[in-house]
Symmetry: C2
Subunit: 347 residues, 2 copies
Amino acid sequence: MQTVRFLLIGLGNLGRRFCEVLREKNDLLLHRYGLDLRLVGAADSRGAAYEPALGLNLREVVRLKESGGTIADYPGVGERGWAAPELVAEAEADLLLEASPVNLEQGAEPAMTCVRTALQRGMDVVTPNKGPLVLAYQALHELAAEQGVALRFDGTVAGGLPALNIGQRDLRGAVVHRLEAVPNLCTGYVMDMLAEGLSWQEATERARTEGVLEGNGSWDLEGWDAAAKLVILTNAVLGYPARLEDVDRTGITGLDGGELQVARERGERYRLLARAEQDEDGAYALSVAPVPLAPEHPLGRLGRKQMGVVYATDIYGTITAIIDEPSPVPSAATMLRDVLDIYVEGR
Amino acid sequence: MQTVRFLLIGLGNLGRRFCEVLREKNDLLLHRYGLDLRLVGAADSRGAAYEPALGLNLREVVRLKESGGTIADYPGVGERGWAAPELVAEAEADLLLEASPVNLEQGAEPAMTCVRTALQRGMDVVTPNKGPLVLAYQALHELAAEQGVALRFDGTVAGGLPALNIGQRDLRGAVVHRLEAVPNLCTGYVMDMLAEGLSWQEATERARTEGVLEGNGSWDLEGWDAAAKLVILTNAVLGYPARLEDVDRTGITGLDGGELQVARERGERYRLLARAEQDEDGAYALSVAPVPLAPEHPLGRLGRKQMGVVYATDIYGTITAIIDEPSPVPSAATMLRDVLDIYVEGR
């Protein structure tokens, strides 16, 4: 039996749901893999709690967050104002799960510091947070390699779809001529609404009501989210050191609903397509743009809760993977996939 | 730099093409992975050749087989009548690639003996041959574990699609409620022809002409191929010790073309669907049968060169993977995927 003491930063949609998944799966993990995952420390934006001996009670953590509270109110060991980077710097743990919201504007902080500190302290790191990977893909990988620890981020791309795993492992030895992905649910939803005849305002309001669109929406609607995911895919799968500024990015803001309706009548469905296409010299051109997809396209029939990726290769044919994700659970569960990858499969 | 000396049994469609893939990829494997794959011995149905020092020349092996010859005629070291199991028992090597045709009738021999002998002698084994896995899944895995060697068989299911890898690795921790696969090209082709109005005889003749159907065809048409693949998927992904006789199997022989044409007019496409469905007690019911698939079904729009698998899970949503395989290269390349998995990823 192996005990893995972990820290969890971020207790929003992903972090809290991960606690629920873990509660449900604890017995299975013990029996099937001999693995005891123990939450010893957690932080949200208001504070942190640390209980190295017994670990924090997952039910209590979920209860606190579901009632709109903070982990700082965890009985006995919670503390207001205790910031995540401090917790990571001080706590004894084997693994960091960094699940705070993406934030590229401020250097992806505090996630960047948390991830760096954990790696430097010899912890394995699992994160569905795109920020640190987009801004410092190579540097973080070098640091992890130096320290001999694992850095996994399957949840950064296309929710619960193992797009990165398939690309990194199952395409070994191949050349990927073309990579295409629909890695974002929000833009597909809004474009479907426009195609149904709703105005831009009606469509985005509907997306907000449905919980698909959050904040001012520009991260999703302007294609930043898809571009960030494309950058991670390109680095991880194509081994190509792309940066966010290399992506020719077109968002969907102000898209003409009439055009989308016409496309729909032709049987086509608009999706925000992220694409990396290899030229004759082996370099990749990266783009994100709304594109009408015919039903014959491998991603041409994606529903509103579906994302997908296509790898066109030289020796493994063309491989498409699609996820149907009716709830946010699969996105949270990617952390479990990564954790099991580290401790069951080995580094 | 790591040198891996390997034996290759079977030099038909898969084995010969693997040699071509390896020739093309040799430099890339050296540079990217520091891996020198050296073919030291090979056997076909007529004889064998063994060259432990320099290795056999891949170009010469391909030339011999393309001209309809035998490896027994390999200059200097080839020998007629030298059977594959003897080569595996005698040769010094690190790895066996067993790529002979599937043959369940005679206990999957000689592949079974080759695989067993290699494992017993401490070789890693990679095989796209379903026979040994279907007849002795558990025993072969126990033997490999005892010997501390790898046994990989990604190519046994759905050609070049990493269906097993996705199921075994990316669904860890999940319960798979339902597994559906279209793992066979031949039956889809014949049913498409029937749906286009061809008679049974015309359809199967066309399939023969196109090279889709070989031999008397009953292995494919009676659903044995799909059932064998389902048994391997069920053992490997669901951890459920199913055998061939557990599959409720319906082939496509004698299928009514009229029914298929009506389905086509409804927009549905018939495919031979392999399915494992969990009941309330956690047991799986296994079936193979021709089924009309609506366009909304994740496998409902598979073309004639496409195969796919669907995993409906509790925590990772529903994941679909599809391969478009315009040539037999991806099926042969699965051996490279498995080999790199062993020597790059580690056991």
